[in-house]
Chain length 507, copies 2
């Protein structure tokens, strides 16, 4: 038997939910900082966080209630678990713990809501199979599942680059990209083709057409990009290997934001055949995984071991780069490198370095995609369109000066770094909120690119290790990557070194 | 602050769960018939049901616990919501309502468990996209999403027929099957290619390779087949239209088991171009939907309206067919037709009718697939392999006699039925449990085929309307379809009639 008044409150809440009566809904949840609400996005703590969530979502999906089960605890406490029947089909479950207040009204102390699963997480994947492409029956990667960024050819599928209008006119690929073929030959299967920022020209992880993939580590945060789909797929447990690209941070930033291992390989060390270019002077292949062992397995099938070199653990830090990070990230970084013998270096003015990167990147991006972008006005989201507009505006003189600056910066950085390993944060902050304004994201992008461009300019491999955390509002701790930039062709040694750094933390 | 002893109990439960210590786990859940446990599969009611579930699953997936949040209600009651971190990646949520018993120990009164979503429900879908194939920008089906049974050609994809070894050797289809093309031209998009029983030669909905799709209406029950994937996709809200086939009940049985609308069309009225055959004398195209309006829209794009006829609502029932159903279904059927003017007819011995159907079906199934089955020993699940072995054993003499019996039965049934509408249950029972033994499923199949074969033999259209429910152990009520078998070319009129029958119930 339900306690008196409980079911009236239950149905009153349901009516308020369907009417999106925010004031009434706030009243149905117990006040205070310990009220709880869980759903697939995560756990919200406190009445204010729950109220803010409700204000942000614009109403719950339309539904009716099926079976209602009441577990009475006392006259003043009961659990109600109800079947929810969304108008779009399927069945969900909703648990509410109700208590009667001193004035006799019933309020919810904790709730847990489950929606029926979608056929596909469209923000994460463009197409997915069971598997989409089966791998070889034997090999080191048997049992591994790959989320292939939608920049790589998968035989039989058109490559979409995150742009539906581009996809619509593409023919299916006849062959797999070399790196895709290598993963398949080693026994991995292709789980699906995962989303990317449009033409990979962003590090945010938002896509105007397919939506923003969820951050698997920080509820309500952007995933990082442009390898956003592969990163989220791996963080969400929907694939074990994300195959991505990194031009200006597109592996390292999502790895940092989602607590993954991510390797940007030495420029030119891994075949880019079958991969759409963005800025060939910087474009590299890379992988995202949840652990070092899987990253090592994935990298080993495409990195030529004979061309690889060993590493001395000689670390350098440039304080002016670290200073670009948020205070929380700076503190986490100081703590992460505290046990290491580290030499300070001065790599030069970060503004000049990033400019040397940006001009050549933009000029090459326009060469890669400009004709298509010009011919398809309105086909891109406004942020990416604006970036291409800037790229289009680069004059021949600017491009030549940029190329010269790039050459100079590369020579200078190589001279300063030598065979040593540069340590820096993989991104300047933890993952920003999906509700961050464009200007805030641009500022974060600016700081992060100053960190990531060092590997871009030098063509050096860069490994992001999920070694740091910082406090954020929405969860106990958000990940930030520790980035190791090694000499060229130290890719595999970097992974081993990163695993050694991580080992004391996971014992 | 957590009440004293609560967190010890929480961690004790977690250790017992990871060790799959069933006795300890039983002890952690409060005894009695009102203890609750919800997950994506549904809501379990009572300690015994929860205990039986745990005994059936063979251990929970390995995981660790992330953030733990406690909402204290009283000194003796608290809610714990914890983040779960499966070893396979992603994050889940787990809510437990704990109470202290009179002896001071803590027990769980209610629990709600959410696992992270998989990339794809592999038992339901072979491949899925966002969308997989976009439909025309305008038309009556814009906004509709189609789950295409893996018997129909989708351009660019091989057709797999539920058999991985068959799929592996197939070339991608150059063109869409006609019915697929018609749906796309009308504005529907293809959400994906959905699973089928192997070569569509079953009505159970189990597949030895891809697993058993969940029944969207009855937790723990088989989905019905062979259009199992499309039916589950629609019932789960993962598509709005299931495109399937019906030879001996493959639309009607899953519709009945999952509470869907399902139409088996008049034999020959809808193009089968691009559809793999099973038994061409009986094979038809059909659709599964959650409501009559969508079914009418889907059917209208492929059924030639000019060739359609109208219907007089003149109903007949054959008591000897209805008697094949379970007592619960018979009672529901009596109640469903109670308001209708119904004439009793005698269609003949159900055993003879089903035999006339089965022999020709088997002989044709062997013609369709026998050469492949012979060449690939071990490629099929044991139940389907056994069915093909029987089909292979049919002698020429038996086939000739069967064809003659089929012709006779068809003429006889047409004579008795005339232009009237035969009412009968779509299946002999509600959906059986996934744990049912093979012999039990064979018996159910035998009874159901005696009901479904009438439309098969006569080539008449048959509509399954989700108009009945029967009580079952696992849920408040399980659906059973009311089947309307109309004269040939009354497909669209049948849908309208079914909607009229349903209307009073949904007001």
């Amino acid at each position: 038997m339900a306690p008196a008044g409980l079911l009236d409150a239950f149905w009153g809440y349901e009516r308020a939910l369907m009417a999106n009566d925010l004031v009434a809904l706030d009243g149905f949840f117990a006040p205070g900082p310990q009220t709880l609400r869980a759903d697939a996005g995560g756990i919200l703590v406190g009445h204010d966080a729950i109220s803010a969530f409700r204000r942000g979502r614009g109403g719950a999906p339309a539904r009716t209630i099926g079976d209602v089960h009441v577990r009475r605890i006392t006259d003043d406490t009961a659990v109600v678990i109800a079947q929810t029947l969304p108008s779009t089909g399927g069945r969900g479950q909703q648990t509410q713990v109700w208590c009667r207040t001193t004035d006799g009204s019933w309020v919810i102390e904790a709730a847990h809501v489950s929606q029926p699963a979608a056929a596909i997480a469209a923000a994460v994947w463009r197409v997915v199979g069971s598997p989409l492409v089966a791998g070889a029956a034997s090999g080191p990667l048997v049992g591994q599942t790959v989320a292939v960024k939608d920049l790589f050819a998968v035989a039989g599928f058109a490559t979409g680059a995150g742009v539906p209008a581009f996809l619509a006119a593409r023919a299916p690929a006849g062959d797999n990209a070399t790196v895709v073929a290598e993963l398949l030959a080693a026994g991995a299967s292709v789980q699906g083709i995962a989303q990317t920022d449009e033409f990979a020209y962003s590090i945010a992880g938002r896509n105007a057409h397919y939506g923003t993939p969820p951050n698997g580590a920080v509820p309500g945060a952007i995933p990082g990009g442009s390898s956003s789909g592969p990163a989220s797929a791996v963080a969400l447990g929907q694939a074990s290997i994300g195959l991505g690209t990194d031009t200006g941070g597109s592996i390292r930033v999502p790895a940092s934001y989602q607590g993954l291992w991510g390797l940007r390989t030495t420029h030119g060390a891994v075949s880019r055949a079958g991969m759409l270019p963005l800025a060939p002077s910087f474009d590299t292949v890379g992988w995202l995984t949840r652990d070092a062992a899987t990253l090592e397995l994935a990298a080993s099938v495409s990195v030529d071991a004979a061309a690889q070199r060993s590493l001395e653990p000689s670390f350098v830090v440039d304080p002016s780069l670290v200073a670009l990070a948020t205070p929380e990230v700076q503190a986490a970084f100081a703590s992460a490198v505290a046990g290491l013998s580290v030499t300070s270096v001065d790599l030069g003015d970060p503004d000049e370095l990033v400019e040397a990167f940006r001009v050549t990147q933009a000029a090459e991006a326009w060469m890669s995609d400009g004709a298509w972008v010009d011919a398809h006005p309105g086909a891109l989201g406004s942020d990416i369109a604006a970036r291409f507009a800037v790229a289009k505006g680069i004059t021949e003189g600017q491009a030549l000066a940029g190329a010269s600056a790039f050459d100079g910066a590369r020579a200078h950085l190589d001279r300063v770094l030598g065979d040593r390993i540069l340590l820096l944060p993989s991104a300047s902050s933890a993952a920003p909120s999906t509700t961050a304004e464009g200007a805030e994201l641009e500022a974060i992008r600016g700081s992060t690119l100053r960190l990531t461009c060092i590997a871009g300019i030098t063509g050096r491999p860069a490994l992001s290790v999920p070694l740091m955390t910082v406090p954020v509002e929405t969860t106990a701790a958000a990940p930030v990557g520790l980035c190791l930039v090694g000499p060229r062709y130290s890719d595999l040694a970097l992974i081993a070194l990163g695993a050694a750094l991580m080992a004391p933390l996971v014992e």
